[in-house]
Symmetry: D2
Subunit: 311 residues, 4 copies
């Protein structure tokens, strides 16, 4: 497999096409892109065959990326547009699995006491749950009401339990037909921090972004389809340094101050080398923007509204 | 059965003895009381036979009440004393069921976003969990390490799922040998608000105190023993009004201004009548002391330390 | 002066008229009432002469009360209606003092760490401040921009400084032409808790409602007009008990079980007597509804939007 | 003046000595260093003459740096040691100005709603204030009681008022003899983030670290001595990238892959060049460690205890 650094299917597609000088689409891949107003861009990559899956190193399925420009200064209008865009895309994926108002469980991953990791549990607290109405307030339900439940299971470090263990138990007892899982991710580039939402229908590996890989949450492990909504909220110092180095080599090349080693490095991934030089001093921190409190509040609004509108 | 208003086994015992002019202990009941310093009082009631259970209207088992005087102005020293007292009592109950460092799951009930109902989830965030060490950091464990896990399952209103359903699933997958459940309760008298901890080994009915009765959490429903730790943090307006009326009739009697109706009412429970007169205007609020933020912080310290010390 | 229990000018007016069997308006008083939709009621009392001031025991000035029905279940639409109503009334009072976009300072009183007392500081954090634009971003200002600043000075118990001392200093240096002060109040009846906003243009005494009377904030003490926005968020146990006793006597009278003493008490204020019977046991707690977190969030939205719209 | 990148007097001293191959102390400078246990290191630099002040580019005065190793995993014991160390150093500085229990005002700068900037306001909420006792509870005071007050004035962006304007007003009215000001700073190197406390007695420029320079708070502007306590909690992406580049050039040199340009750059500050390459894409974020919530909680404990012990 090609050595991709990014987790985003659309970035992998771009890299693969560029590296192979492809004009046409990759076999087994379909892609499209659209803008929703000035601030919101949607990129959709569909992996349709095993060949496509092997090329991009990701399972057959749908991958939607929503980029919100200038999210750090977004107002109510931008938040609402982003939420509507997300609802539209999410609805399409949900309908593939559950066109008939079947039971859905929304799961917010992450640690509620760690600001950049609190997105999942914050979204859960804003989901309009209805599942209990069928028992306790049947008068509020009709054939258009979808039973929605929501849970924030916490993280291994504070519960001592694998998220998969908790969810298996809950799924066995609650018996939803579909899971929607929200998690904060680590970004693989500076520019994605807190401005991108990824939606896919192939599951999620909690904590994957921050080096604490847990057991996969997917149809394979839980027996029901899993739609994952991920938002990059943190980034390793090595990523920041690698991006910086990349821009720096650019500048050196332009000014004729580069050398062969750097010219070659320019074509490669600088992340590993930066990790190597930062680790000895214990400086490969995971960092988050200073404005993370407000970014999480705004992103919670986008995702909670998006989910509520789509269900 | 005698019409008790209180849930506390020791108050029921007092009422029954007084009503029946008993000098000796009630058959099937054992009781003791001790002070720990000036601020902490422990009352233990043990129901040993079905006869005792029938008289007090509670299952056979242990009921420990810890009263902390002036908890609203408690400092670090009082908090530590209360925590140590609690640890001692809790340890005794735990050892009855699990003398050999078996797996324990701590469950914090309640809604993290409602200050007087956040006790359970706050305690859970301060529990020293160790269960995952056995897989991920076995070098930190030895034969004295008890596997401890902890979860805050949320409330029906925000999850759409019965607490019992979630816990059944978790217990089936995590397979603990004992559950310790923490919940905020409704007080049945003004003087108990946020100064009393009740520990019993006969399970708990979540939300019982606030009129939202959920399915019982106990050995019957979960298949493993359930130790319940409850703290009264709220009180109905009708309870405040009933206690006020009680003191008021006292005063009228002393001043010779009472009448037959009031004299008779004095001997009865005024709660029902106050509920009746407050409900039409929708005034039977559930209230909590103005200082609830600090009370919850202090009570969280007491209980989390108490549990951590005892495990 | 008539012995009023309430602080609300409109309740005092009602009591005085009833006690004196007045059909016509009280001399020196003007009053009007209107509904804004089904949920919002506005009552305006204007004290126009010293005679009126003496009768109602309040300074000459304007007193507006906004009642929001069912505020505990208010949605976005009710919040917006209430905010618009408030903005309209507030604007009128502001224009009396400052028709020409003069400098306004918004002051949020109270303790940010005590949920029912955090209203003022929460509102302040949502005020659109503009005063610094004139220095740092003059390109964002024009002749329609009013310089707005905002401060949350804290409470005596956590600062060690009288609010008046802090504000005097700030007013001397910032030189605003008008102060808008927000404070949480103690309610004098169960039904007002967290559903009423009072606006007056005669200043405020911080902490008055909770027995911690501080120095008055008003034109007398600060040299500029002070518009006060107050919201009852707490209530004494004695008030709850007194209201309960009142309803209880009603019921006894209807059932023919009252006596002379109670019949006479019915006409009087039961608050003092309830305070007397609760104090010895230290039971005259100040309490707040269990739902206070959400009530404060919603009330913050109403007031912050109302102020921002009116400035 | 020598082009120092750091604000820390002790780092400037090191750089100057190295650059000038000085064996002896710099004229007009006194310095000492000590460890307190394994985790805490104290470095003290005293600038005694105008010559020393000119060399280090800082006013005559005392500069104490406390480094806490592994603060991210600090437990209660390390926090207490750090607090005691800080109290000792702070007491010495306080006694220089106020040996006789004169009035002290503690000021917590920063924005309470931005986690990495909330340190100042959090510390203020834990200060034992006593100034109001002299009026309201004189029985709790004696000749050993120092009147302490505390205030969190907010930030220009949310108040619209310069911190200096607010403090001038408060100082004029409260008339303290000494100010202790706490602020979160920007770090000039990765390794200082959230593990260093700087104490100086020459005042502070709020927001200096994050490019929002405000008016200086010092004896010059406020008329009383100002002791500043600063903690680096954020860092620019350019600093991370510059540190990374520095380590990277090291590695290239070791591996013989460097060139003249890089060898020369090694001797210089890479911060400016990294800022240049990051700014065009708007990537020079200010970031903070992912664990900032807990770091702030622990640092608040250290500083609040340190101040309380020293007053």
């Amino acid at each position: 497999m090609f050595d991709f650094r990014t987790d985003l299917a659309n970035e992998r597609r771009d890299m693969y096409k560029k590296a192979n000088n492809l004009e046409d689409e990759i076999p087994g891949i379909e892609a499209e892109e659209r803008n929703n107003g000035r601030y919101v861009k949607v990129t959709k990559v569909k992996i349709t065959t095993d060949e496509g899956a092997e090329i991009l190193g990701k399972p057959v399925g749908n991958y939607v990326t929503i980029d919100i420009k200038l999210f750090n200064v977004a107002g109510e209008a931008e938040i609402q547009t982003a939420a509507e865009t997300m609802a539209e895309e999410l609805k399409r994926l949900i309908n593939n699995f559950s066109p008939n108002k079947e039971d859905v469980l929304v799961v917010g991953l992450g640690n509620a006491n760690v600001t950049p990791d609190a997105l999942g549990s914050k979204v859960v607290s804003k989901i309009d749950v209805t599942r209990h109405w069928f028992t306790y307030m049947p008068e509020f339900t009709d054939e258009h009401t979808r039973p929605v439940s929501a849970i924030a299971p916490g993280v291994l470090g504070t519960t001592g339990i694998e998220t998969l263990e908790i969810l298996k138990g809950v799924v066995d007892n609650v018996k939803p037909k579909l899971l929607i899982v929200i998690d904060a991710l680590a970004s693989k580039s500076i520019e994605r921090i807190s401005s991108t939402i990824q939606i896919s229908d192939t599951g999620i590996i909690p904590g994957a972004g921050v080096g604490n890989t847990r057991k996969e949450l997917s149809q394979n492990t839980l027996g029901i389809p899993v739609i994952a909504i991920g938002v990059p909220t943190v980034v390793e110092a090595a990523v920041v340094a690698a991006d910086g180095l990349d821009f720096f080599i650019d500048k050196m090349q332009q000014e004729g101050k580069s050398n062969d080693y750097l010219n070659q490095l320019k074509e490669e991934d600088k992340y590993q080398i930066m990790k190597e030089v930062l680790l000895p001093g214990d400086y490969n921190f995971i960092v988050t923007p200073k404005e993370i409190d407000e970014l999480i509040i705004n992103m919670t609004s986008v995702i909670a509204r998006g989910i509520n509108m789509s269900l």
